[in-house]
């Protein structure tokens, strides 16, 4: 079953009376439980695509079906509720509210959720469980400026997971991290995906994309290639093979 259906999606910016068609008639779907990477050169429209399909940005034309509902025509309130309860977001920069501790930042969406409606204690417990799972329990009471970038990005993943979303949108989640932290973060995303969460991830990193089940390649606002990778089992050798296969395919696409 498809969780995301994108049809004839267009996005145009007008800068100084000059029309810039960033996305041109994009069509694709993402099935439930998939982990899809979006790759492409800088300025190709990857992030714009991610924000347009996640309801963060209004498309100029086309339809974006999320769980069967067209989010392109939704009002602000509906979109906010959808982002709160059904979607999770991970950004390249690890944005968090600076007056809150890491744990408070993680549980903030849950305190607003209408779907969960649980006691505060239960929310805290779930937040702590998520932190334990991502190995950052010891920074729960820290301020955001007291932790490393990798820890902060994992905290952002926890926040994106707290309301048990059906799909996570990640925009270059490892872009600001070193290799070790990057591996940790992508492994956590893989683990979430194995648990059933659908993920759409914009990345420049073939190593990250190699762990995804499918890769979309976008150039000048249009999807020019799509590669089915199958689910990643987890072994180093398998990863190397998938990476090689992906690199070859990317070369063919003009990477």
């Amino acid at each position: 079953m498809n969780i995301l259906e994108v049809k004839d999606l267009c996005k145009t910016y007008v800068v100084n009376k000059h029309q810039n068609n960033v996305l041109k008639n994009i069509n694709f779907t993402i099935g439930e439980g998939e982990m899809v990477a979006v790759m492409g050169p800088s300025g190709s429209g990857k992030s714009t695509l991610l924000y347009a399909v996640s309801g963060m940005d209004d498309p100029t034309a086309g339809k974006v079906g999320f769980c069967g509902k067209n989010i392109a025509g939704m009002g602000e309130k509906e979109l906010a509720d959808l982002r709160l309860d059904e979607m999770g977001f991970i950004f390249q920069q690890m944005y968090m509210l600076k007056n809150l501790t890491i744990l408070d930042n993680i549980i903030l969406p849950a305190t607003q959720s209408k779907k969960l409606r649980e006691p505060r204690k239960e929310t805290v417990r779930r937040g702590q469980d998520l932190m334990r799972r991502l190995g950052i329990t010891d920074i729960a009471g820290n301020d955001i400026n007291e932790v490393s970038g990798g820890q902060l990005q994992r905290a952002c993943i926890c926040r994106s997971m707290i309301n048990n979303p059906r799909m996570i949108f990640a925009d270059e989640p490892t872009g600001a991290l070193n290799r070790a932290s990057s591996d940790e973060v992508i492994n956590e995303l893989l683990s979430l995906n194995r648990d059933g969460t659908t993920i759409m991830c914009v990345t420049h990193d073939p190593k990250v994309a190699a762990k995804c089940s499918r890769v979309l390649y976008i150039v000048d606002g249009g999807i020019v290639g799509e590669k089915e990778m199958g689910h990643f089992g987890g072994g180093d050798k398998e990863l190397r093979d998938r990476q090689r296969e992906l690199n070859n395919w990317l070369m063919e696409q003009g990477w």
Binding site: S47, Y51, M56, D57, E76, K77, A80, D81, L82, R83, L84, D85, M87, F89, F91, Q92, Q93, Y95, M96, L97, K98, N99, L100, T101, L103, D104, I107, L108, P109, T111, Q112, S113, R120, T123, V124, G127, G141, D143, I144, N145, R159, N163, D171
Partner: protein, 792 residues
């Protein structure tokens, strides 16, 4: 290159730059007008007296009271440099009929004088600043403040009846009267043309019975002059040197003092908010400062870049603020300056100096703030700029442990985490609200009747302007007793059991040892001496005992147990001082006689009020009903009023303080709105990333509006609680000295209006804050979730 960076910066950070500019304009406006007002009011009286060419000494004589040849005494006195005389005719409120049917309230006056333009011996200043030269026949001028008090407008007509002569006059305008125009003296002058005046003065017996003179004396040796003109002083009804006359402006100076307080608070608010805005705006720049340092631009140049930006902003702001400070200052002064002239003659100079000062202060703030640039490593600056943080613990509260819903939690947490930022706003609110509450307490106290005892009156429920003149005869005391007794009987028959009282006032020479002075003496009929309030000693118990105010005791250098002598027309009478009492009447001067003392009422100067104290303790509603009933029973009684109304009227400044209070209410609301709007707007500019993030994680716009509004509501509530807690101590601190100067010795028992103090004013300020914060927070709607990806 730098100019290009500067130009880009001004354009890109438009919101913050505009906010800073607005605050600079406000600061410049408040400081310029405030300092100017302070300079003006501290020299106001001296300037006013100089303009009016006021004398060094004033004596008011009455033809029927003495036979001293004033000219002879004055010509023979070597210490008298010059003197002038104005002929007057004494009138009472019955002498004047207002054509306008509305009752004109002139009951709280001690004297009403009719005089002419023929012998004006000082300058009477017109509203336009000119000097009254002459009065057209059929027209009259009068003391400006009092004309306003009784509701006279130019063109209104009055009829004056005196000694069988009746003439109608048209009100031509008010004059500022430096010598007798203060509310403290309470004398009304009607200045008419010499031709009209002669119509009255030439009537039979008028000069003899109603005539008198105002004698203005100029001297350089006051001590010598006082002894040389002693015969005039002894026969005069009223005397006073310049200091005493100036002191009579204490009521007006109370208003001036309030203007000073308003100005000081505005200046404090301006500086507090300005400093905060500059620090806040500069901290926004740190990231760029870091980048510039990283690419090798030297500290001096970086600092110069920002200093020139702030210099440009502050000069533009100061110039606009300077221009606005003139009308704003005039507006403030016009509310306060009803009786005296507050001359803004140094306006332009003082304002310009203040505007320059503001630019200097801003540059000093900026220089201090940019001083960090040199100490910071480039990466520190970049990181500080990025997070806007110092590296210390920010989060104090815990959402996980809190029982608050998340939106109020976030609002409260922001306040706690950025206590300095919100503390400044709370301080600004606190200052504005405190001023308002001080005024509220003062007005409530002035209006409450609680100050009856300090005006030297016994406790009463109703007052009326009595038939004073009728009892100023040889057997006046007996007649008065009879009159009050009949009144009590009549009231009892009408189911209004009451005690009726009347105060009579005399001005007689009082001496102790070598010290002698003409002093106001009071005697109550229908009262007993123990019904008044005393500070020390025991109430007079027999006819030969008296009580003195502290001021009088000090003047005579006498104390409890001493025996003073009062010169009466029946000869010298000796009285032992048994008590000291406090009184704000006649600027704290007075002697209280025992009720049994038989003093000849022919020498009385006037009656204060007929007072009624009901003995069956009726409630307010019943008192109001009885007030109407008494007015029906005694149509000859003028203006029957409640105790609170009477005291408020006696204190003369109540209405003026009330007007100022209303102005401060408006000012407080405007300030609360301005501070809220500008602060909230600057917070939005700074928190753009966080707002976008909250939207990205699914927070609805409504919750963001609530979050932002609640922050200001909480800060407002904190300021309100603090202001309420400090209202009475601050009132004691600021208003007690003024009451003390007016003769009060004991601390004032302030009365509060709980409705106004705990409900209306806090709610008004809170509502203004909440509404403006909410409306400003609507701007966050423009920030999109997508902006999370574009945070700089």
């Amino acid at each position: 290159m730098f100019w290009r960076i500067l130009k880009k910066d001004l354009k890109r950070k438009k919101a913050m730059n505009v906010i800073l500019l607005v605050f600079i304009i406000l600061a410049s406006m408040f400081v310029s007008s405030g300092v100017n007002n302070i300079i003006s009011v501290t020299t106001a009286l001296d300037d006013y007296f100089e303009m009016a060419d006021a004398p060094d000494y004033l004596a008011v004589t009455m033809n029927k009271a003495g036979t001293v040849d004033v000219d002879e005494v004055l010509y023979s006195a070597t210490s008298v440099k010059s003197f002038g005389k104005e002929k007057i005719l004494y009138m009472d409120s019955d002498s004047i009929t207002f054509e306008d049917a509305e009752s004109k309230n002139v009951t709280n006056l001690s004297f009403i004088f009719l005089q002419s333009d023929g012998d004006m011996s000082m300058n009477y200043i017109l509203d336009d600043g000119g000097i009254l030269e002459s009065v057209k026949s059929g027209e009259f001028y009068m003391t400006a403040g009092m004309a306003e008090d009784i509701g006279l407008a130019i063109g209104d007509k009055i009829t004056v009846k005196l000694g069988g002569v009746s003439c109608s006059f048209t009100f031509a305008g008010g004059v500022k009267d430096a010598v007798l125009g203060s509310k403290g003296i309470g004398i009304q002058r009607y200045i008419i043309s010499i031709e009209d005046f002669e119509k009255f003065s030439s009537a039979e017996n008028v000069e003899q019975f109603y005539g008198g003179e105002l004698v203005y004396i100029r001297t350089s040796d006051m001590g010598k002059m006082l002894s040389e003109i002693k015969p005039i002083i002894d026969s005069a009804l009223l005397t006073g040197d310049k200091t005493t006359i100036k002191f009579s402006y204490i009521f007006d100076m109370m208003l001036v003092g309030l203007l000073l307080a308003v100005s000081l608070i505005l200046i404090a608010v301006a500086f507090v908010v300005l400093r905060f805005t500059i620090v806040f705006t500069l901290s926004e720049e740190f990231r760029e400062i870091g980048v510039m340092k990283a690419i090798g631009i030297c500290n001096r140049k970086i600092r110069g870049l920002y200093l020139s930006k702030y210099a440009a902003l502050s000069v533009i702001g100061a110039v606009i603020g300077l221009a606005l400070s003139f009308p704003f200052g005039e507006m403030l002064v016009s509310v306060f300056s009803k009786s005296i002239i507050i001359n803004n003659r140094n306006a332009a100079f003082a304002n310009i100096i203040c505007a320059v000062l503001i630019v200097g202060v801003i540059m000093l703030f900026c220089y201090g703030c940019t001083g960090k640039v040199g100490k910071m490593a480039p990466i520190d600056a970049v990181r500080n700029g990025q997070t806007g943080e110092r590296f210390h613990k920010k989060s104090i509260m815990s959402l996980g442990k809190s029982k608050l819903p998340e939106t109020p939690f976030l609002a409260l947490n922001d306040i706690v985490s950025s206590s300095k930022r919100f503390g400044i706003i709370a301080l600004a609110f606190f200052l504005c609200l405190s001023l308002l509450l001080i005024l509220s307490v003062t007005v409530s106290t002035l209006k409450s009747g609680a100050l009856a005892s300090v005006l030297g009156l016994a406790d009463f429920d109703l007052s009326a302007k009595g038939k004073g003149m009728e009892f100023m005869t040889e057997d006046g005391h007996e007649k008065l007793k009879e009159y009050l007794s009949d009144m009590e009987e009549n009231l009892a028959q009408n189911d209004m059991p009451a005690r009726c009282m009347q105060e009579m006032m005399f001005k007689l020479p009082v001496s102790y040892g070598e010290n002698e002075s003409s002093i106001f003496i009071y005697q109550g009929t229908g009262t007993t001496a123990d019904m008044y309030e005393y500070i020390e000693g025991t109430p007079p118990r027999s006819a030969d005992e008296v009580a003195l105010t502290r001021l009088t005791a000090n003047k005579l250098k006498a104390d409890i147990g001493d025996t003073i002598t009062i010169k009466t027309i029946d000869g010298d009478r000796k009285f032992m001082i048994t008590a000291i009492f406090q009184s704000m009447t006649n600027m704290g001067e007075g002697v209280r006689l025992h009720e049994d003392e038989e003093i000849g009422y022919i020498q009385a100067q006037g009656a204060i009020f007929t007072l009624i104290k009901f003995t069956d303790a009726p409630d307010k509603k019943e008192i109001a009903r009885r007030m109407e009933k008494i007015q029906e029973l005694y149509p000859e009684l003028d203006n029957v009023r409640s105790c609170a109304e009477c005291i408020s009227d006696q204190l003369k400044v109540t209405d003026a303080v009330d007007t100022i209070k209303q102005m401060v209410v408006v000012l407080t609301i405007i300030l609360a709105v301005l501070i809220t709007v500008l602060m909230e707007r600057s917070f939005i500019a700074r928190e753009q990333g966080e707002i976008a993030l909250m939207k990205a994680i699914g927070t609805r716009n409504g919750k963001i509006y609530t979050h932002h509004t609640l922050r200001f509501v909480f800060v407002g509530i904190m300021a309100i609680i603090a202001a309420e807690l400090f209202a009475l101590p601050l009132t004691h601190l600021s208003i007690d000295p003024i009451f003390k100067m007016m003769g009060m010795e004991l601390a004032v028992n302030y009365t509060i209006s709980p409705f106004e103090m705990f409900l209306v004013f806090p709610l008004v300020v809170l509502a203004a804050t909440a509404i403006s914060a909410f409306l400003t927070s609507l701007y966050t709607k423009k920030i999109k979730a997508l902006d999370t990806a574009n945070i700089e």
